[in-house]
């Protein structure tokens, strides 16, 4: 109940938006997710309560983006700082969603929410004030890549919400960066609707500093013939939870997901994906990699749901895990729920360590053990990193990961 009181005392009632009120009401019936439910069973309870401990911060302190200068070829937004976006060019337009559109869409989403599955979204929407919600409608062709930043300030709990409508026949590269500061909690919820024939290359890179926490939820709706590629990377969080909900609303859509999480010290990072096929001819190819070192805990839970209507679905899911320390833990649970009979569905999971034969081979060629394991790790990382858009040239993600190791 503490968190609800906190939200209530934080706001004077007349400032609350309608959405905040609805979500707060829903949260009131069960303020915390059920720790016994399948989705929250492995989540570290004390870390979650630590997430909620910080005081709510609605106004951002200015922050310096620790990344290369904004080049002309990309468009950059920071959630919470932009206002009045209206970019209308010859080939494309990027406009802010009107208040009505935004409200209508979010309300519709809320009507599908389930208490445990969407607890992160409920929390986010009851915390997010008007300033911290960014709604975009993107239309046209030859759109330059977009970078969207979300960040938390030290010693506070921040909530940011992003809503994107990708209109028909649109193609877009989007990179979302979530940055945690020391002792901070960030709740980020993203809602993306891919209209017919649109295509999105989406990258999600999240990393924190000392003891930062993250609840990152991604809700994607894919209409017919849309194509969605997601490359994600989560590391350096005391506690992070990445929830991906993808719904192929009428089938005939393609989804590719490549995600990775890296945990060290006593960190816990989990990825929970739920992919629903609500029409025929859906396609999914998913790979999730985890690397757990020291005393950390990495979790992957993926479910693929194929109801009767989703005939001729082709879905595959692979969970590959590296366990590097005696005290670390890995849990993985790829899951299939299938009713349609004319489908091809498969999943696989492996947990192992670095290949000793490969290490030995490299060492006989004069490469030191540290170098050799770095080489192995870089090939392990590379598959995911090369799938994240925009970052290729400008962000040295690989170096960052390897130097951390």
């Amino acid at each position: 109940m503490k968190i609800i009181e906190k939200i209530k005392t934080n706001k004077s009632n007349h400032n609350q938006t309608e959405i905040q009120k609805i979500c707060l009401n829903k949260l009131q019936s069960s303020p915390l997710p059920n720790p016994k439910s399948e989705l929250w069973r492995l989540s570290n309870k004390s870390k979650l309560s630590n997430f909620l401990d910080y005081s709510i911060n609605e106004k951002d302190s200015k922050f310096d983006i620790p990344y290369p200068e904004n080049s002309q070829s990309t468009i950059r937004f920071i959630i919470g700082e932009n206002c009045q976006i209206k970019l209308i060019e010859k080939n494309y337009s990027i406009q802010e969603l009107s208040e009505d559109e935004l409200q209508k869409y979010i309300k519709e989403q809320i009507s599908f929410f389930k208490q445990n599955e969407n607890w992160s979204d409920l929390l986010n929407l009851s915390l997010s004030c008007k300033n911290n919600i960014l709604g975009l409608k993107i239309n046209g062709s030859k759109i330059p890549p977009i970078e969207i930043f979300s960040h938390a300030s030290s010693n506070s709990l921040n909530a940011k919400t992003l809503v994107i409508f990708l209109e028909k026949n649109c193609e877009l590269e989007l990179l979302q960066v979530n940055l945690g500061k020391e002792n901070s909690s960030l709740s980020q919820s993203t809602f993306i609707c891919l209209k017919e024939n649109s295509s999105l290359n989406h990258g999600v890179v999240s990393y924190g500093e000392n003891r930062s926490n993250l609840l990152n939820s991604l809700n994607i709706i894919q209409q017919k013939n849309s194509k969605y590629n997601l490359g994600s990377l989560h590391f350096k969080f005391n506690y992070a939870r990445f929830e991906i909900n993808i719904k192929q609303s009428a089938g005939n859509a393609k989804t590719n997901i490549k995600g990775m999480q890296i945990t060290k010290k006593d960190e816990q990072i989990s990825t929970h994906t739920k992919i629903e096929f609500n029409g025929p001819n859906g396609f999914l190819d998913q790979i999730n990699k985890s690397l757990a070192d020291d005393k950390s805990h990495a979790i992957f839970e993926g479910s693929i749901i194929v109801p009767k209507i989703a005939q001729r679905t082709d879905a595959s899911q692979l969970s590959r895990n590296l366990l590097l320390s005696n005290l670390a833990q890995i849990d993985t649970k790829p899951q299939l729920e299938i009713i349609a009979d004319d489908v091809k569905c498969k999943h696989g999971a492996t947990i192992s360590q670095l290949n000793e034969e490969e290490l030995f081979y490299m060492r006989t060629r004069g490469i030191t053990l540290t170098e050799a394991s770095k080489l192995q790790l870089s090939s392990y990382f590379q598959e995911i990193i090369s799938f994240i858009p925009i970052t290729k040239d400008r962000w040295d993600l690989l170096d960052k990961l390897l130097n951390e190791n």
């Binding site: 833990q329 890995i330 993985t332 899951q335 299938i338 004319d342 498969k346 696989g348 999971a349 360590q353």
Partner: protein, 480 residues
């Protein structure tokens, strides 16, 4: 290869074990309380330690809640509306088979279970359990020559109380889960096997469980102990008559393998599954677990699950001994409105332990078939390996197939591999078979049999043939 005529014969038949034997039985009143437990214990003339064990389990059970995490839906079970003890009336203790009620022998004859002398040639020792009581155990003397103890658990309580006291509840403690606690409180009979050091059991041992009365539950308990360097193969079969009420079956099986011992446990479960509308059928809630205590010990589960309205069953292995091996081979077939949530748990505790899981699920009709398995590598399980493979086959677009593998590792120097796939009967293959003059249903049952080959290969000969027959029978009318 499926015998063509056999399949034809079999496909025509309804559930052929659905008859009721009209025999005088002794039943106690419905309901469950301490007095009932004391009465059961008294009827079986049990020593005090066992009564205490039962009462303790009952206390625990009262505090527990029925689990609801399985992907199963069934109407609430009224535990006070069940008869917890039912036994065919027998005037005196029987010393040989000739004194067993001929009706009972006839029943087992009908079921194809060789109890009578002329059928003993098959070289399988059988312990037949009818409702709550073990009726007869064959080949006793021959087994005794080798020092093998094979008898009903009630006899073992009387004659080998020390072994029972030492091992009962050590693998599946009374508080393990709701149904195990219930079983510990009211278990009526079951089989007991003890293989002494260095003995390879000279023949396969087999138990046959038969539920006869409609309102009593069956709660059997099996305990198998394999001493150092011994080995045994154990078969289990189950049938029940057709009733339009649901009957509860909650069994517990405990296996213990010491150094270099090996136990192979095979089950063909064919309880009555209810009719096409889902009326009647057995609710099958079973806890089966084996403990590989000794070094290089091995426990292998193989099962063919075709019956029961509800199946809730996870035969597991606790791999404690160094280099111990656990195996699980399963075929689960559901049709009409059957629901099965079944799988295994492989808990790797000792170093260099190995486990293999091969699970084949076939769902037809409106049924629901889930594989749920856990593979866990503990912190000391260095150099351990697991390989799992779960394949599902869907027949018709109303059935559902789910896979829930839970994989957990705390040991970097171990490897886990898991694979799962879902498919349907390939139309190309069907077409090929049909173009060669094989009828549609026959072609389907051939393909199903091929799909399950990996598991059937692990079954003892006579079981493999029975399993093939069963699958063909169960799939009748589900395709096309």
């Amino acid at each position: 290869m499926v015998n063509e005529n056999l399949v034809k014969d079999v496909v025509k038949e309804p559930y052929k074990y659905g008859f009721v034997t009209d025999i005088e039985t002794e039943k106690i009143e419905k309901g469950l309380n301490e007095d009932i437990i004391k009465l059961i214990s008294q009827k079986k003339e049990e020593p005090k330690f066992l009564l205490d064990f039962r009462l303790k389990a009952f206390k625990k059970w009262q505090k527990m809640k029925e689990p609801n995490w399985a992907a199963l839906g069934y109407k609430k079970i009224d535990y006070q509306d069940i008869i917890y003890y039912s036994a065919p009336k027998q005037k005196e203790k029987i010393s040989s088979l000739d004194e067993v009620d001929p009706k009972l022998l006839e029943t087992f004859d009908k079921l194809g279970i060789p109890l009578t002398e002329q059928k003993k040639l098959t070289n399988v020792a059988v312990d037949a359990v009818f409702d709550s009581v073990s009726i007869a155990t064959t080949f006793r003397e021959e087994l005794a020559e080798h020092g093998v103890i094979f008898c009903s658990i009630s006899e073992a309580v009387k004659n080998h109380a020390d072994l029972i006291e030492k091992y009962l509840g050590t693998v599946v403690p009374a508080s393990d889960n709701y149904f195990a606690a219930l079983n510990s409180a009211v278990f009526s009979d079951g089989s007991f096997v003890y293989i002494p050091k260095g003995v390879t059991c000279p023949m396969d041992l087999s138990s046959y469980f038969r539920i006869n009365s409609g309102d009593s539950g069956q709660f059997e308990r099996t305990l198998i102990i394999a001493e150092e360097s011994s080995s045994v193969s154990y078969l289990e079969g189950c049938t029940a008559p057709m009733f339009d009420t649901n009957t509860l079956h909650a069994a517990v099986v405990e296996l213990i393998a010491l150094d270099d011992a090996s136990i192979k446990y095979s089950t063909v479960q064919n309880w009555y599954a209810g009719d096409e509308e889902g009326i009647g059928g057995i609710f099958n809630f079973v806890t089966k677990r084996g403990k590989c205590l000794g070094k290089r010990s091995k426990i292998s589960w193989s099962q063919v699950e075709t019956g029961s309205a509800i199946t809730w069953k996870y035969p597991s292995c606790l791999l404690l001994g160094e280099e111990s091996v656990g195996e699980f081979y399963s075929v689960a077939l559901t049709n009409n409105l059957q629901q099965a949530d079944t799988g295994t748990k492989m808990i790797h505790i000792g170093p260099k332990t190995k486990s293999t899981i091969v699970s084949k699920g076939i769902s037809a009709g409106n049924s629901k078939n889930s594989y749920r398995g856990l593979v866990k590598m503990g912190t000391k399980a260095t150099g351990s390996r697991n390989y799992s493979q779960c394949d599902s086959m869907l027949i018709g677009d109303q059935a559902s197939a789910n896979t829930f593998p839970y994989i957990k590792s705390q040991q970097p120097n171990s490897e886990i591999e898991h694979e799962a796939s879902t498919c349907r009967i390939s139309e190309d293959q069907l077409f090929y078979l049909q173009s060669r003059g094989i009828e549609f249903e026959e072609a389907v049952s051939m393909m199903v049999s091929g799909f399950c080959r990996d598991v059937f290969n692990q079954l003892p000969m006579e079981f493999a043939a029975e399993a093939d027959k069963l699958l063909a029978l169960k799939l009748e009318g589900s395709v096309g």
